[in-house]
Amino acid sequence: MYKKMTENNRKKISFATIEVIPAENKIILSGEWTWVSINENILNIVDSINKQNWLIDGLEIKRIDTTGAYFLHKLCDCLTQLGSKVTAVNLILEDQKLFDLTQGIQLEKNSIVNEIVHQTAIEKITNLTVDFGHTTLQLISFFGQLCYTLATLFKREYPLYVKGIADTVSNAGLKGILITSSLCFLIGVNLTYQMAPQFVTYGANVYVVNFLGISLLREVTPLLTAIIIAGRTGSAITASLGTMKVQEEIDALQTMGISPVRRLVMPQIIGLLVSLPILTMLADVASMFGGMLFAGPLLGIDFSLFIERMQGNVSINNFWIGILKSVFFAWIIGMVGCFCGFKVKSSADSVGIQTTRSVVISICLIIVVDALFAIIFKGLGIK
């Protein structure tokens, strides 16, 4: 029966019916026996009838399709199971052909199709763990490969693909300036706005400069810029490499004797290594400017005082640490993006899965590396 059919359309269909005449040992079928007009419960009528020999008369069936034939076979099976006997099935020639065609191809209970293997929870967990281990190992080996390629980058026998680098700098860097800077500006504004009441309570208004200088330059801006670029460029790298993999373009490169890592991955990574620190610098400026703008009205610190405090109390190391971190973040974004792109298997949904994974893995790694840096710099005592 067709779902959500309007009453008007329902009238146009003559539904399949079964009429039982016990006196004549006859079961009369009529109506259209197609998927549109058969009700699933049509066979329930059979349960209540007596055991006897039945003649199925289908001469009045208006039309039958394979679904109808399936129900017809099921009707015969039901009757046989209940202890009755089907003496004959009368159908017109055209329907008889279809009935014979579908004879004996019903799904049996012991068919291998019914043996669906379900994974148990333990198996799933084991598989996931093994998969995680494999991915980690592969990522480490990819890292090694990249390091080797980078080390031999300026050897004379390998050409440096400058156009690709320029493309990445343009796509990831230039076109990302507006979004990273404006978001970091807002974060600067936000932090000042939220923290201002706390500083006022202690009468330590002027310390907002120290707070902003350290938190923004050292932590927030590099992290936020990297995360935005991971979402914006990392996913794009994965999707484009993945599509190339699906279309066998990467295999084509390899057959020409050109290393995909050198030709496709390196330009992306170098481009990111160039553009992410610059983006971070610009975002640093934007975020500090945002803080400075709101420190005036909220805390009574005007621009000259803000800049003076910043020069005196905020060590330049904070800025350099932020930039250093962004270099590592750029490497992570490029590496993970390309790694996931190469892991795409030859299907469209695989591209989607790997793009998601690329963003997730790079953001996770960025935060882990950020935490590591915090520990290292603490240990080194750099303030």
Partner: protein, 269 residues
């Protein structure tokens, strides 16, 4: 409603299609009667696939009318459930199979049934199983994913899925492309068999000459934005007045198939 063999199943009148100021079809007329295999041929880019897509309402037409069993479908609203029911009488097998990769073979065939009918899941499963068995696919493949089975098997699954809603008109876009000769021959055989048993009207696009000679009842030749010829295969192959078509059937490759099949026809008679 049974199919009346006298009434055309598909009728196209004065069809026009325009892409970016360029006419693909202009004043195209085509009448197809039921219960036969019709092959559409023509040079690449002459609008064979476009024509099929227009009949299936996958693509809007610029002008003209398309009728399916006497009903004018070219003006139907696609969102109306009734339209969908009318359209479910036509089904298309795409060139690449277009199977859903995230579903198993059986689930692929179950999909249209689950969408359209109210039958319970287990019953739909049995129905889908039946369709797959009709296409002669081995049971071991039913729980596999499309990418795990061979292209020949994928074509069979695609065929089973197109048959799921018992269409009366079946469109096949290059069904034997990319298959090895054995698979292609057995697919031809299967198609011929199902067409006769289920009383289908098959409209096929193919460049496979063996397939054309072996299965087709009629040839529709598209050129100059119109149907230039609509005739049996044998007649179509003997028309020196249409040079491209003549070359198609009597070129280096065509000659061999033609010689083989015409001889067979004579031998059988």
């Amino acid at each position: 409603m049974r199919i009346n063999n006298e009434q055309p199943i598909i009728e196209i009148r004065k069809l026009g299609t325009k892409f970016f100021d360029e006419w693909i079809h202009k004043d195209l007329d085509l009448t197809i009667y039921p219960n036969r295999i019709v092959t559409i041929i023509g040079a690449s880019g002459c609008g064979k696939t476009t024509l099929i897509r227009e009949i299936l309402m996958l693509q809007p037409i610029t002008c003209g009318e398309i009728y399916l069993m006497g009903e004018k479908i070219s003006t139907y609203d696609l969102e109306d459930p009734y339209t969908k029911r009318v359209l479910s009488q036509m089904s298309m097998m795409f060139q690449q199979g277009a199977l859903y990769n995230s579903n198993t073979v059986l689930e692929n065939v179950m999909f249209p049934l689950l969408e359209y009918t109210d039958f319970s899941y287990s019953m739909v499963r049995e129905l889908a199983y039946q369709k797959l068995r009709l296409t002669g696919l081995k049971e071991v493949a039913y729980n596999k994913y499309p990418k795990e089975i061979s292209p020949g098997m994928q074509k069979r699954v695609a065929l089973a899925r197109t048959l799921a809603l018992d269409p009366r008109v079946l469109f096949l876009d290059e069904p034997t492309a990319g298959l090895d000769p054995n698979s292609a021959a057995s697919f031809d055989e299967l198609m011929l068999n199902l067409q006769q048993q289920l009383g289908l009207t098959v409209i096929m696009i193919t460049h496979d000459l063996d397939s054309i000679w072996h299965t087709s009842d009629e040839i529709v030749y598209l050129s100059n934005k119109q149907v230039t010829l609509h005739d049996t295969v044998l007649n179509a192959s003997n028309r020196p007045d249409i040079p491209d078509l003549y070359q198609y059937f009597n070129g280096t490759r065509g000659k061999i198939s033609k010689a083989y099949y015409t001889q067979n026809v004579k031998g059988n008679n």
